[in-house]
Amino acid sequence: MSAATFINIQNLSVGYTSQSGEIIRVLRNVSLSINRGESIGLVGESGSGKSTLALAALGFFKRGLRALEGDVEFDGIDMLALERDDLQAIRGGRLALIPQNSGQSLTPTLRIGLQVAEALRLHSQLNESDFEARVVELLTQVRLPEPATLLSRFPHELSGGQQQRVAVAMALAGEPDALLLDEPTTGLDVTTQAHILELLRDLASERNMAMLYVSHDLGAISRVCDRVAVMYAGEIVLKGSTKQVLLSPRHPYAHGLLSSIPRLTQTSLPLALDGRPPMPSETITGCAFADRCALADERCRSTPPTLKQLESGEKVRCFHPDRIDQLPVVNKTVTQKGNVSADHGGDALGLNQLAISYAKPSLWNQLFSNASMPPATVDNINILIRTGETLGLVGESGSGKSTILKAIAGLISPKTGHLVLNGEGRLTPKVENRSALHLRQIQMIFQNPDDSLNPRHNIAQILAQPLRLYFSLTGEELRQRSIELLERVRLGSHYLDRRPSQLSGGEKQRVAVARAFAAEPAIVLCDEVTSALDVSVQAAVLDLLNELKAQRGTTYIFVSHDLAVVKAISNRVAVLYQGRLCEIGPVEAVYSKPFHPYTDVLLGAVLEPDPNFMPKLSADDVVELSPPKTGCPFQRRCPRKLGKICDTDVPPGRIFDNGHQINCHIPETDL
């Protein structure tokens, strides 16, 4: 090892003893070294052991887990042999962690200022009296607005992005030489994520810090890391420079992972990586990836490959790194997105002048005060959705995407405006008053299958519900139909008596899809259906949705904050900001010039898994709590704001070809 090696993990195995007394390995023989000033990305599917490895660098193991063998050194110190006091001095001091979910990692009962000052008290030589000034300085350094007033706030009074910045400030308080980052931007809006990553890049180079950046987001990794290690089932399967790993991955798993990412530059659906990784408790005889690998042969199944260095410098755990180019790169199996032209098919659903407000004046307020109501959460939405088309809804958190879906599903009543189904007549607002036919025709799939599938029911019971309700099926007929549905979502009849807890995330989401399709709906509402899934699984679910649509001519309304995903699956896209429509039109038109200023900002912040790619950050990432009362919804953040007119007048719709419309005061020719 070179003298500069700073964090040095050698042959580390981490595991636990199962109830039957077996030792189960979660990390297997992992070696990773990081030099000063270097940043290394750690990628892999959920459960591959990324967090476990990052925490092990701090000499920390979650309850139940322990180091089975191997060494963890930080600047020559053996972290696994340290006493509690010495560990405390290093943790949060020279070696600091920025955790996976800052919202939950800040203590809810302590003020922000105190929590950052606590790190100072523990890890700096400053006097108590200088703490406040230093905390303000740190909060300024992570570009938080009005740091002095933030001191006395509690964590829940900050937005997700601000909480993440506080976590960064807290880590910087100990003047660390090395940072461990566990998914620091997962769950944040694209613009916020891009801003935080830029901040981290700057800080790392300013302070010559070593960084271990854990993420399943290859776009983020490509932006901050020099080298990347790919993990699979508790092992490192590929290590190399960011360029090598992201542009020409020499391991079949890394290759599959990269091709499963939807990209803005592509028009088709990404390639799905089928199957799932082995559980830590499964015995693996050969290569852990063999079951999912298109190149697998006899040798792969019987002998575990070792990590070997290639001539080009990467280290690969695979027998056939030279055969990578035999793997498919583009998605050929999927039928192309059906093209829906204006005159084709009828109208599936019309949203007419829809306005939705959550603020309900309580009885008390009606009686005793006359405070003015805040502007409606969603306002002035006019969209006509055609049969068989997929309409994508994008926007940052708080843009009202889910609210619109809830109104369509009848879970919340619009304040004004109405819905028209099949071009026939008004749809009753409340779900409980809708006819059985209408209920059947509109189905919804939710973000998190864990919340939407009853854990106490098995799959047969879950699928039987809609089949009984809408088609009065029973007995053998019911069973046949359930199996048919499962086969349609590429699961077999042997899933019928399993429970949701026995399925992987992707399988659960497929069951949720099958349940929605059991009703033979005309319209399916998809609310962030792939956000909780790994990219490889996401690709499979997108593929499935598209195939079902091609077979049945179903209409989708697809909500996501991920612009690339929306681009991959939609025919038409609507961009929302603060519950108001900014832009709507065919996919190709929305994702290319002319842009609404907000669309431009959003697209600029999207990170591509390509080290040569630079995001374009044109607007800051403040979070707005409620829409402005008058004028353009985007007025407070718009980088191209014209002036007073944007504050006072609702922007006019600028109309382009193919029903492409941009709501902005900037004239057509300048957009």
């Binding site: 925490l55 701090l58 920390f60 979650k62 309850r63 509690r84 560990l87 405390q88 001095a89 290093i90 943790r91 949060g92 001091g93 600091a96 962690l97 955790p99 996976q100 979910n101 939950q104 990692s105 800040l106 203590t107 809810p108 009962t109 302590l110 003020r111 606590e118 790190a119 523990l122 890890h123 509690f154 829940h156 009074e157 807290m170 100990g174 008390w364």
Partner: protein, 319 residues
Amino acid sequence: MLTMILRRIFLGLATISIVSLIIFAGVEILPGDACTQYLEQDQADVELLEKCRDDLNLNRPAHERYTEWALGALTGDLGMSVNGEAKISDLVGARFANSLLLAFFALLVGVPLAMLLGVITGLWRDRKPDIIFSTIAIFAMTIPEFVSATLLILVFSVWLGWLPGIVLTSAGSPISEFFPEILLPVIVLSLVMTAHVMRMVRSSVIEVMASDYVQMATLKGVPYWQMVFRHALPNALLPAINVVALTIAWLLGGVVVIEVVFNYPGLGRMMIDAISDRDLPVVQAIALIVASIYVCINLTADLMTMIANPKLRTMYLRK
């Protein structure tokens, strides 16, 4: 914040009035009235009955009597007991003071002990201290109070002769006279109460100790006990406020079984006695008092939680 508090108080008062209506209506719907009940209808002497009805104003329409009763209750006048011998407020007052006394000592022992044991068992989860105390707690919770009370009487007063097994002091005596008779009931009550509150604190501590912010505090280098006291306990003990409040309400409302076993002159036994004496005005009064206690204590607990929990506090402050 202030409107919030006023609103809660208003709602509390509304609840009490509704409950009072229900209590009153309930008594009205019963066959017969307070006097026929008291005098056991068939054998009742018509004259006595009439006199009794006159005394209690039972001949007037129900709504007038309700208003009178409710207004009286507001000023602390709960009417006369059915035999016309005593003011209910005096009777209840003395009994209530006794219940208060019992509750006070039970809480004085039980709450700090429950918190301490809850925290200890939570922190040392699945290790010796937890296993020992949790087992005891489960016993204390599952054995019915009258069994544990009888057992304690057997051990401490019958065998060892250390403590009196029964309370002979009458209601209204000065506090000092209740010693040492009150000790055994206090022990039994605190045992049950400690077990319940401790289990709840334990699970809350375990949950908080597994939280991301406690892990973060550890990884920030915060020493263990500082982490426990600054980061974990304030969050773990917040939900305890409501549990303790419910326990207080339960104690004040009269712990019937304990009072009967120990012959303790508290509110619970008074209720039982009033029922067996068919003294409806007293039953009515006690029901109203117990309901009011529940409402007041819940209100206080909610307000305290609101003040102690920054999330709730800021929500109302900034609105």
